[in-house]
């Protein structure tokens, strides 16, 4: 039987329940836990991109008062192999990327550790490195799968080449996105404390159980002897989903010195050690008939990974399900480079992929003489073109229409470079957004005492998104009590196991487990105790395993983003005075936190469109603009009016709450909407992000 929630707390704009703790500083982050006798570890990073460490001279470092140990491959304990070869910290003398850990100093203070690290003299045998991604490399390879095995590498339906050859209108364009770094505000930080029972890590991450399992495996510990605490996390954006080398290093330092150890990466270290989004080179070919109906979509992607660990981003995946076309093809090819290991970042796949697809759709609309909204409506599929399944719900057209009205889209003169306001050319653009609605297994425990106070325990993680608040709201409705009666416990691997704060799946997965636990508790209470809580209280567990309807329906959130831009006629500076995002993402649990999350996503999309790019120095294999002075991120002055709204969408196929997830869809499509608006304003199509003024200057 399908569970139907009666919603009271769900849908209310509740203030963040963790808000007061955060603004008063009471909420402790990983680095802030006071630990008796704590020491500090500071890494030494390789200055070459490929080669071997020949010698490590640590005498000067060891002579510094306060230094406890210098670790390197010469004296490190042996680790058990784990799936990620990057985590084999100090297990050999090999260097696979610039910035890799080659040694580390543990000292009584962080200052001493840092100074001593600078005194460690490392000699290398350098080998030639290969760090530049190009589409014409002859060593591109086809990964076995993409997105950790979640998707097929390539897909092919029909005959794309023939359809393109016979299309009335066709388009063949290459779009590029640069390397981008996740850059959460809170740096990656760990505090490691050994005790007789095992090790406790106060760690900044997006899923304590995921960190626990990897640490336990690497250090050959039973998982129950590893405890990970991550109650408050200052952003992750994908870079804290999985263990990175600094966590291994901190545990190793604590093991080697038998002292508690703290580490917080510096911003500069984060540019080599905790991942980034691969640069992408995307060839997009579209074929259409004279009415703008797509006959062919081909999306061929080239991206990079590292030599020691494969990360294959699913960039072309959205082109598999967005639009109806009888002939479709997607491919992903990788170059294995002597570069740091990429990772998952802010809507991996959809975000860069939809920049290409939605830019190409805008170019096609111009080629067909059609309004870009009309072009998308004409190509709206009735079923998922890839799986052949019906959509559980698909709100794209509703979002486009609602957005057009709200934005004042029509009447729009499609003529480029035709509007001027003083020294500024103006233009508008639109693009679609999408992100899959998915769920990961989760378990939860609900307890009630005689006074009617509920405790909900689940290893969910709030990375700043509002999970503390929305899970409380879901639990309140599932238990049919006011939210004040519910006390939530999350962010601790000692709590019932649950999945990552990632894939926009947190609320759906954790919420489902909480609903099931609440339902079990209510059943027990009524069937076993006649509705009266026994003196010792009562508890019940609930789990969510899989959604059987995921095999019957294609489940995605959709959206439409609109941008107004101004481009200075003399300097070609780009300004974005107005953004609008309209989303169809199922039920919105909390309009206040949801608005913030979507607004944040769109702001990151603006940042991607205009600013963000990690600049490679190929001589060293290093990203050189590795701080916030030189890696530009949109600031308040760059952001104009951002209007965020959503349509009411009831979809109970996705889960009992009807939520599709809003963690990532906000960033998908923004960059294309802005690029399309820049093209409308200037007549110049930028296919290579970010849209900086040098690309627009004549």
């Amino acid at each position: 039987m399908k569970m139907q929630l009666i919603t009271r707390a769900i849908g209310a704009p509740l203030d963040r329940i963790d808000g007061v703790q955060k603004v008063t500083g009471a909420a402790k982050y990983a680095y802030e836990y006071p630990v008796e006798g704590v020491t500090y570890v500071f890494p030494v990073q390789s200055t070459i991109a490929r080669g071997r460490v020949v010698s490590i001279d640590a005498r000067a470092a060891q002579a510094l008062p306060g230094v406890i140990a210098v670790l390197s491959h010469e004296n490190a304990p042996q680790l058990a192999p784990v799936d990620d070869a990057e985590l084999a910290v100090f297990q050999s003398d090999a260097v696979a990327y610039h910035g890799q850990f080659v040694a580390a100093v543990v000292a009584e203070t962080s200052e001493i550790a840092r100074q001593a690290a600078s005194l460690v003299a490392v000699r290398y045998q350098e080998q030639p490195h290969d760090v530049e991604l190009r589409a014409d490399r002859d060593d591109l390879y086809k990964p076995l799968s993409i997105a950790l095995g979640y998707y097929q590498t390539d897909t092919c339906d029909g005959d794309v080449e023939a359809a393109l050859a016979s299309a009335t209108v066709s388009l063949d364009r290459t779009y590029k996105t640069p390397p981008e770094h996740n850059n959460p505000l809170e740096p990656h930080a760990t505090t490691a404390v050994w005790s007789d029972e095992g090790i406790t890590l106060y760690d900044s991450n997006q899923g304590a159980h995921s960190i626990r399992d990897t640490v336990a495996q690497a250090f050959r510990l039973p998982p129950e002897h590893v405890r990970i605490i991550a109650r408050y996390v200052g952003g992750g954006f994908g870079s804290k989903l999985f263990v990175h080398p600094h966590t291994i290093l901190t545990v190793m330092a604590a093991q080697a010195t038998r002292r508690p150890v703290k580490l917080a990466l510096t911003r500069q270290q984060m540019f080599a050690l905790v991942g980034y989004r691969t640069p992408t080179i995307q060839r997009l070919r579209l074929g259409a008939d004279r009415n703008g109906r797509l006959t062919a979509i081909a999306h061929d992607v080239v991206e990079q990974t590292s030599t020691i660990q494969e990360v294959a981003e699913q960039t072309a995946v959205p082109s598999r399900m967005m639009y109806a076309a009888p002939n479709r093809r997607t491919t992903h090819r990788l170059a294995r480079l002597d570069m740091p290991v990429p990772t998952w970042m802010r809507a991996p796949g959809e975000c860069p992929g939809m920049f290409a697809l939605e830019s190409a759709m805008d170019e096609l609309a111009m080629a067909c003489g059609l309004d870009p909204i009309e072009l998308r409506i004409r190509n709206e599929p009735t079923i998922d073109p890839e799986s052949g399944r019906p959509f559980s719900s698909r709100g794209l057209v509703a979002c486009l229409r609602e957005g057009a009205q709200r934005f004042g889209w029509a009447p729009r003169d499609p003529q480029p470079r035709a509007r001027r306001d003083g020294s500024w050319l103006t233009g508008t653009g639109v693009a679609a957004s999408t992100y899959p609605a998915q769920q990961f297994p989760a378990t939860a425990l609900v307890q009630v005492d005689r006074a009617g106070n509920y405790r909900v325990r689940i290893d969910a993680t709030d990375i700043g998104t509002g999970a503390w608040t929305v899970l409380t709201q879901i639990a309140a409705d599932a238990l049919a009590v006011p939210p004040e009666r519910v006390q939530l416990e999350i962010g601790d691997s000692a709590l019932p196991k649950a999945g990552l704060a990632g894939g926009s799946a947190g609320t759906a997965s954790w919420g489902w487990a909480i609903c099931n636990a609440a339902s079990a508790l209510r059943t027990r209470l009524h069937e076993e105790y006649g509705g009266s809580v026994p003196a010792e209280g009562l508890e019940a567990s609930g789990a969510f395993e899989t959604n059987p309807e995921a095999q019957q329906f294609s489940m995605h959130a959709f959206g439409a983003q609109f941008a107004e831009v101004r481009v200075n006629v003399d300097t070609d500076e780009v300004r974005v005075p107005r953004l609008l995002g309209v989303f169809a993402a199922g039920r919105i649990i909390n309009p206040k936190t949801a608005r913030s999350q979507l607004l944040g996503g769109m702001t990151m999309g603006l940042s991607m469109a205009l600013h963000e790019a990690s600049v490679l120095d190929p001589r060293f294999g290093d990203y050189v603009n590795h701080d916030f002075a030189e890696y530009h991120i949109a600031t308040n002055a760059d952001v104009g009016t951002v209007d965020v709204t959503w349509i009411n969408e009831e979809d109970l196929h996705v889960n009992p709450m009807g939520v599709k997830g809003i963690g990532e869809i906000g960033i998908v499509g923004t960059a294309a909407a802005i690029a399309n608006a820049v093209s409308h304003a200037t007549g110049i199509r930028i296919r290579d992000l970010p849209i900086t003024l040098d690309k627009l200057l004549p």
């Binding site: 020294s423 003399d570 300097t571 040098d694």
Partner: protein
Amino acid sequence: MDLEITLRVNGATHRLSVGTRTTLLDALRERFGGVAPVPWRAARAEAALRGAAATGEVFGRAAEAELANAQPLPGNAFKVPLARHTLVRTLLDLTEEEEKQR
């Protein structure tokens, strides 16, 4: 004899006292920010402007004179046209502002 004049540059008001025999262009001191490690005094442009008429064409020639010897690198070549456009626009804005004040 001196004359008080008011200039608005990038939205900020500047009051100057200059001799009446001094043209506006004589009094200009062009500096580019952000194109060099220190503000770049555009002495060649100033020389080209001194005593010349305040027209867009003259400004364009002054900018060309200033930038004729620029040797940009691949990553900063855009700064040459950017500097040219910015200088011309700034001078046009200034002189148009002065026209309005009369």
